[in-house]
């Protein structure tokens, strides 16, 4: 509840503190509470069955294009996907802190994983990974410029990954904050406009739920794509 007052719009993204201790790590680990452990049973209760089915579907979807040596990454990528989806969706609840709105956390996820894919590619088959810097069928005069551009695009990937996730979620939360503030203040002046604003807020909520899941999926999918290129 409101133990703090928001002086500006970005105070909602501050890491919550309890008795002076930062609650960042419990916030990140909250999602582990919601995941069921696989049970020592053959048939489990419906929730566990659904969770296993969803994870199996997601694994098949993401890891099928990756070749066999890349399947070593499946645990990492699927647990990343699950954590991101749950973090993003839980952040839509009121008064919850979303760790993935912090650029620091997203950079901490994106940079090491991207760097791992690049290093694996350079180590195992360097010619093939360097060949990705030059798309097929480029006209000869363009080659030097294109290599520069491709190198820059390669180096900007981790920043793009992190900033994409951060920006999407932060923008969504900000918009929700703004529109709900507008609805609240309009309720006293004009109820009809408040109703319209609430309709907009409902649509935005639906969008946010979709964006939360899509952004998590895109993050993982792009990492699997980088893995495909390099492994």
């Amino acid at each position: 509840m409101t133990l703090t007052t928001n002086l500006n719009l970005f105070d909602q993204f501050l890491v919550p503190k309890l008795l002076g201790m930062s609650l960042l790590i419990p916030a990140m680990l909250l999602t582990t509470v919601l995941i069921y452990n696989p049970q020592d049973r053959w048939l489990s209760n419906p929730l566990t069955t659904l969770q296993s089915w969803l994870i199996a579907k997601a694994t098949k979807q993401i890891m099928t294009p990756v070749n066999k040596p890349g399947h070593k990454w499946s645990l990492m990528l699927i647990s990343l996907l699950t954590m991101l989806i749950l973090n993003n969706l839980l952040g839509l609840l009121p008064y919850t802190f979303t760790p993935t709105t912090q650029l620091s956390m997203n950079m901490a996820l994106a940079l090491p994983l991207w760097l791992a894919t690049v290093l694996i590619g350079l180590r195992n088959n360097p010619t093939s990974s360097l060949a990705h810097l030059l798309p097929e069928g480029t006209p000869t005069p363009l080659i030097p410029i294109l290599i520069l551009i491709e190198t820059i695009s390669l180096l900007i990937r981790p920043i793009a990954l992190a900033v994409r996730l951060t920006a999407n979620l932060t923008a969504g939360h900000l918009l929700m904050h703004l529109i709900s503030t507008a609805a609240l203040s309009l309720m006293t002046t004009s109820t009809l406009l408040a109703g319209l604003t609430l309709i907009i807020l409902t649509l935005l909520m639906l969008l946010e739920i979709a964006v939360a899941m899509i952004q998590a999926y895109v993050f993982t999918l792009l990492l699997s794509l980088y893995l495909q290129e390099n492994v």
């Binding site: 409101t2 089915w53 929700m176 609240l184 409902t202």
Partner: protein
């Protein structure tokens, strides 16, 4: 996580205690909230989860308050608490409240609309697993039943085996009998042919003798007819003819 590691390692350590202590220690060492009371075979899963009212309040809470406050107790508690928090501005209505209301209505609508379908889907996954294994079980049961029936048929066949031998024996005897009778017939025919030949020879001989005798007798008789007898017989014949012609003329 480290506590989980310790909990996993506990049974192994506790088993190594002396037998009098290990049984009790194993049963006493359990994780908080949710581990089995004993490391015995797992109990079966309950069919349905805990009963819940309004989606998130366990039924046990209502039962807990029922003796003291009756049926409306928990609702009074909820309403009173909410009104107290709101009116004393312990909970301030701000933008998050609006956002919470909208989000919760969306969630409740989604659960009411898609809940039964999702539950049915989850049940279907489990049922498909069960059905797959049941098909294997039923197929093997059917195969075994067919095998039993065929075995019984074979046993019946073996029981009537002696009849087949009797029938075969009868057939063979009949064939032998037929063969014997054919040969008997052949023998009879051959013997008859031989005897007929002998009979025909005898007849022929007798006829030849007869013919020869008749010829001899005729020759002798013709030789013995003298001319005088020849004239006398012709005169007699003429007299007889005349008499006969007279008799014939008379009748006409």
């Amino acid at each position: 996580m480290l506590s989980r590691l310790a909990l996993r390692a506990a049974p192994g350590v506790l088993r190594n205690l002396s037998p009098s202590l290990s049984a009790g220690a194993l049963c006493a060492a359990r994780s908080f909230h949710g581990g089995q009371p004993c490391l015995a075979p797992l109990p079966p899963l309950p069919e349905r989860g805990g009963a819940v009212r309004h989606g998130f309040i366990p039924e046990e809470f209502f039962q807990f308050l029922y003796p003291k406050t009756g049926v409306t107790g928990p609702y009074m508690l909820g309403t009173g608490l909410t009104l107290y928090l709101v009116s004393k501005e312990i909970y301030v209505f701000n933008n998050e409240t609006v956002s919470a209301v909208v989000f919760l209505s969306l969630v409740i609508y989604a659960v009411k609309r898609f809940g039964p379908d999702v539950a049915a889907f989850a049940e279907k996954i489990n049922e498909e697993k069960l059905a797959k294994v049941s098909t294997i079980k039923n197929d093997s049961i059917k195969a075994l039943e067919t095998a039993i029936q065929q075995e019984k048929k074979e046993q019946e066949r073996v029981a009537v085996r002696s009849y087949i031998f009797d029938a075969k024996r009868n057939n063979v005897a009949m064939l032998l009998e037929i063969n014997y009778r054919e040969r008997m017939l052949m023998v009879y025919n051959e013997v008859k042919k031989r005897l007929d030949y002998q009979v025909a020879m005898q007849h022929l001989k007798r006829r030849k003798e007869q013919d020869h005798m008749i010829g001899w007798v005729e020759r002798n008789v013709v030789q013995s007819i003298t001319p005088q007898q020849h004239k006398e017989s012709i005169a007699k014949c003429i007299l007889d003819l005349k008499a006969l012609s007279k008799a014939a003329q008379a009748t006409v």
